[in-house]
C-alpha cells in the first residue's frame, strides 16, 4: 500500500515534538492544557500539551507520540493546525480532516482519532483549570 508523501514527511520530520515540562510540573499551570490519550486498538499513546494565551488562543503546542508512523504524522499535523486557533476553533477539527489531508488508509483511521482525542482532552484540561468547563453529566464515559 502506498502512503502519501504528506504522511511520510510528517513522520520523518515531525513538527512540534516535545513538551512544556513533565505532566506533574505543568499540572498547576493555568495556561497549559495536557491531553494524554491512547488507542486501545494498537496500544499507542500520545501526549499533547497546548499553551494558551490570555485571549484563549493556542500560541504553541507540543506533542509526544509513542506509536506508529501514522499516529506520529496525525499528531504532528494536529499541532500545526491548532497553533494560532482559539480553543473553540481547535475543537472543530475532526479526525476525518486529518484522514483526508494525510490520505490515511482505513486501517489507520484510529490514528487520526487519537490525534482528535488529544486535542479535545488537552482543551478540556485547559478549560477545567480555568473554570471554563460547563457542567457535564458525571457518567460521560
Amino acid at each position: 500500500m502506498a502512503y502519501s508523501n504528506k504522511v511520510i514527511d510528517h513522520y520523518q520530520h515531525p513538527r512540534n515534538v516535545g513538551s512544556f515540562g513533565a505532566s506533574k510540573d505543568v499540572a498547576a499551570r493555568k495556561d497549559i492544557g495536557v491531553g494524554i490519550v491512547g488507542a486501545p486498538e494498537c496500544g499507542d499513546v500520545m501526549q499533547l500539551q497546548i499553551k494558551v494565551d490570555e485571549q484563549g488562543k493556542i500560541e504553541d503546542a507540543k506533542f509526544k507520540c509513542f506509536g506508529c508512523g501514522s499516529a506520529i504524522a496525525s499528531s504532528s499535523l494536529a499541532t500545526e493546525w491548532i497553533k494560532g486557533k482559539t480553543v473553540d476553533e481547535a475543537l472543530q477539527i475532526k479526525n476525518t480532516q486529518i484522514v483526508e489531508e494525510l490520505s490515511l488508509p482505513p486501517v489507520k483511521i484510529h490514528c487520526s482519532v487519537l490525534a482528535e482525542d488529544s486535542i479535545r482532552t488537552a482543551i478540556k484540561d485547559y478549560k477545567k483549570k480555568n473554570g471554563l468547563l460547563k457542567e457535564e453529566p458525571a457518567a460521560a464515559h
Binding site: 513522520y11 505532566s23 486501545p40 486498538e41 496500544g43 489507520k108
Partner: protein, 176 residues
Amino acid sequence: MSDSVDDPFALLGLPHRFEISSDQLQVAYLKRAAALHPDRFPDPIRQAQAAQDAARLNRAKAVLADDEQRANALLRQLGGPVKEQDKSLPEGFLVEIMEVRQAIEEAPASNDPSQREHFEKWAHQQRGHYKSLVAQLFAGGPPDSQSLREIRLQLNAWRYIERLIEQLDPDYKLQL
C-alpha cells in the same frame, strides 16, 4: 471478511476457556491439520477448499497460542464488549504508561542494554500481572456483564504493555 468472526476455539474443537495449555493446543491443531492435508483431496476444487480451511486453522491456532489474543477472542465469544466500543482503562493508567515511555526515551544512553533490561523486566512483570488477573476473572464462573466489562478494561491496559514490549525490542522498526 468472514474470518474475523470465526470462533478459533470452535475451529480447534477446544472449550471456551482461558486456560489452554500449549500441549492441548498442539494436539488439537495436529489432529485437524492432518485431516486437511492436500494429499487427502485428489479433487482440485476440494483441495483448494482444504487449503483455505488450513489457513483459517493456522490463524485460529496463532490467536489461541497468544495469551492476549486468546483472552480477546474468548471475551468476544462470551459476548463481552470489543475494544472499539469500550476503551476504558484503570484509573491513572495512561499517565503511568506515558511516564514510563518518557523515562525510557530520556534514559541516558538508551541503547545501554542494562537500561533496556530494566524496562523490559518491568514490562514483563506487567504482562504477568495482567495475564494472571485476566485468568482469574475468566475462571470465576459464567461472567455477568459487569465482569465482562472488567475483563475488557484489563485487556485494554494489557494491550499497551504488549505494545511497549514490542517497541523495546532492539530490532523494532517504526512502521507507518
